[in-house]
């Protein structure tokens, strides 16, 4: 494998995206899809697959023409400098709120699952200090570590699914009929808002070299996401039922808690929490490094490493302004932010692509 200083390969970027998507998906997808599509929720990844599959062609076309250039520069070239800068500013605002959102969710999730009597300031401070160190020293090392960790995570997930098979009740995710098509598509939009991070990381990250290789891995990674998401939803719905899941903040955690194999293998939720923390660490580090790259492009800066510390302080306070408790966070996530995600992850890049087509730049 080809290694370049401060850069990661397409293969590593794909693995990174999969780990990054893991934490928000486990929290959000079972709950959202069960609310929208009830017992048919497990079919909704098929709809999302279709959307992302089509969107990958937009990414292929952009990467074909612009190679490793970050999307912030591509927008300037296609839409002109003024509109490009406006779009980039919107992306910076959106990504800042998104990162803050994940910082806050990380702390709230630890509070609600394993450590309910600890002040969430502590979790947030520890996470942001780790992220600041990571981003300053280059997150490439963490990305390479992820190459080793992801297979273990997948193994844990497969283990959770296999151990839970005995408790899954098929009647919980049947029947599925043609009447479920619209609810499935509504649920699928939520999944698109999560999976969209994969092409987004490709388009915006400046640390990936030979982006053209996405043609090799793009479809495979979306197929992998589909094959993991279907059992994830099926496991939660099958064990708990769609009505109970709708009211739960983290159904996957509750489902894993119920796993008991011959009364010997129990309490594997602690491994799941460890995976979440690693995934959150990667996600927040990656988003902050991408934000700093966007700043670099917007203000034509030469080095943004020094901004990491102060930006983390800013995110710390913003995370407490974002929501007062986990209920507000959940409402904000499922009613507003997931749709905003779809706009920024899928719709805006597609619009830029079509403008590029009209202007014969792509």
């Amino acid at each position: 494998m080809q290694y370049m200083k401060g850069k990661i390969s397409t293969h590593q970027a794909i693995l990174l995206s999969l780990t990054v998507i893991m934490s928000p998906s486990v929290r959000f997808i079972p709950n959202f899809t069960a609310t929208k599509a009830k017992q048919a929720a497990w079919v909704s990844p098929a709809f999302s697959f279709l959307i992302i599959f089509l969107f990958l062609y937009v990414v292929y076309a952009i990467v074909d023409k612009y190679q490793d250039t970050p999307f912030s520069e591509v927008m300037n070239d296609i839409c002109g400098v003024v509109i490009g800068k406006i779009l980039l500013s919107l992306y910076i605002i959106w990504l800042t709120v998104l990162t803050t959102f994940y910082v806050r969710y990380y702390a709230e999730r630890l509070l609600t699952t394993v450590m309910p009597y600890i002040n969430n300031y502590l979790f947030t401070v520890i996470m942001l200090i780790s992220v600041a160190i990571m981003v300053r020293k280059s997150i490439v090392a963490l990305v390479r570590m992820n190459e080793l960790m992801l297979p273990i995570f997948v193994l844990v997930f497969v283990g959770c699914f296999v151990f839970s098979i005995f408790k899954i009740q098929v009647k919980n995710f049947l029947p599925v009929s043609r009447l479920d098509v619209i609810p499935i598509s509504k649920a699928g939009i939520g999944i698109v808002g999560m999976w969209g991070y994969l092409p987004f990381i490709f388009l915006f990250s400046g640390m990936i070299h030979s982006k053209k290789d996405i043609k090799k891995y793009g479809l495979k990674s979306v197929l992998f996401l589909t094959s993991v998401t279907v059992p994830l939803i099926a496991m939660c719905i099958g064990m708990l039922g769609p009505k109970i899941i709708e009211t739960m903040p983290i159904p996957f955690f509750v489902a894993v808690k119920q796993i008991s194999l011959f009364d010997t293998i129990e309490r594997i939720e602690s491994i799941v929490v460890t995976i979440w923390i690693f995934s959150d660490l990667l996600l927040i580090s990656l988003f902050i490094s991408m934000l700093l790259e966007m700043f670099k492009s917007l203000f034509r800066l030469s080095d943004t490493c020094s901004l990491t510390g102060i930006y983390c302080i800013f995110l710390f306070f913003l995370s407490f302004y974002l929501a007062r408790d986990i209920f507000e966070l959940e409402c904000f996530s499922s009613q507003i932010y997931i749709y905003v995600n779809v706009i920024f992850l899928i719709i805006l890049p597609t619009l830029v692509f079509f403008v590029g087509k009209l202007r014969k730049k792509v």
Binding site: F314, A323, R324, F332
Partner: protein, 67 residues
Amino acid sequence: MITLGIIIVALSIFEIAQMRKKKLKKEIVIYICLAIISFTLGAFYISKPLSKSISRYALDLLERNNQ
């Protein structure tokens, strides 16, 4: 609030000194802007920790539009 001020000033002195060594003038301006915004945000939060959140404002706006 004093602790926050001390942390931000200490961090700023350290970072700005490094940026000056590298002659990064634009970065220093952006850094100072970010430091001021962070301090203001932090000061507001410390003085009114239970004020209405951004999510609440957004959800209220959504409810009003749906009515």
